[in-house]
Symmetry: C2
């Protein structure tokens, strides 16, 4: 019996091994690439997780020799497959966003308008770069089937989420840059721009009205 449930990084590792056997290095490479956009901590725990999965009986190892070099190859056990399938049947936790830029926005009355502008500009640039990375990946899957052709239908679902996510970040930064364009500083608008603040909150108020309309 496993001492405890695998982490999400553990399930990601089992999911990779469900398709084929891999070495520790190959697994770590897969967990560091693209996956960090969906599960950032996978990048940190990618080696330690193999020992935990092994002692839980979810993976087994064998030695492969290429000339003088030996390397450990991991494969999934029937218990590992069952643990992965059992996890997929449990309720999912909601996504969380870790957004330092938005923390800075909330506290930007303690800095200058230029600081706020720089935070918005950099957030936009980062989102443009990330959108391009996923856009290139969409083209790569379209042309070749991608790194996991047997899962390309699932990668297509996820890719379109990420493209939309970065597009939201980009359009929000552009909107926010327009909103602050005529602010004299980062403090006064709470008093001087009451009408604008009211207009800025329209999407939230409309979402509430929409929810209530649905309830009736």
């Amino acid at each position: 019996m496993p001492e405890r449930e695998p982490s999400i990084t553990g399930y990601l590792t089992l999911g990779l091994l469900a398709g084929r056997d891999w070495s520790a290095y190959q697994l770590a490479e897969q967990l560091g690439r693209g996956v960090s956009e969906l599960w950032p901590s996978a990048d940190r725990g990618r080696y330690a997780v193999l020992n935990r999965l092994h002692s839980a009986g979810f993976v087994e190892t064998r030695q492969e020799h290429t000339g003088k070099r030996a390397r450990t190859i991991y494969s999934i056990t029937p218990e590992g497959r069952e643990a992965l399938a059992a996890w997929l049947r449990t309720p999912v936790r909601p996504p969380t966003v870790e957004f330092e830029g938005m923390v800075r926005v909330l506290l930007s009355d303690q800095g200058s308008l230029d600081d706020l502008r720089a935070t918005l500009a950099r957030t936009r640039e980062q989102a443009l770069a990330n959108r391009e990375m996923f856009a290139r990946y969409a083209a790569f899957i379209s042309e070749t089937g991608g790194t996991f052709p047997e899962r390309k239908h699932l990668f297509a679902l996820a890719n379109t989420f990420m493209i939309g996510h970065y597009e939201h970040v980009i359009s929000w930064t552009e909107w926010a840059e327009q909103q602050i364009a005529d602010w004299p500083d980062t403090v006064a608008p709470a008093r001087t721009h009451g009408g604008q603040v009211h207009d800025m909150l329209a999407p939230g108020r409309e979402a509430l009205a929409g929810d209530q309309a649905t309830d009736w």
Copy 2:
């Protein structure tokens, strides 16, 4: 001199203290409310952070007595204000999403179509509930100025980001539910639905075309 830089939770705490003095309990209450949607780990570190800020010289304390009860009140020092302002001048790190549901989507060939449907349905319900929470907050700020009236212009910027974020999650789940509606299972579509997979990746390909058009 501080032994090390405050964490984001530390800066959040300094940002709260920049407006007024608070007790440890009041600070923890503020860090647990709404902030966890932008910086999830604030919820875990909210008491320990005060000791670190105190030993760094960024906050100072005094005792207040109400009848027999004494409580510690925290206030920000000039060094704390400078540390906060200095941080706001540094480059921001990009937002990260921690999205267990998307990990499940990628691995859903190891489970049933019903598991995938349940993950999408639950992700949608959670996003609807979170959107409603931020929508109520938008109405609350519109009507009263909110918990921090002197920062309502900044909360309006952040609120509109969060509303758009949950709307993206909601519309993506609805789109994904349509995409999988006629799948026979979670494995076959990689072979049987090649045209659909190609169509699903259109937003990514279009983003790439748009980027390249901008480069020319």
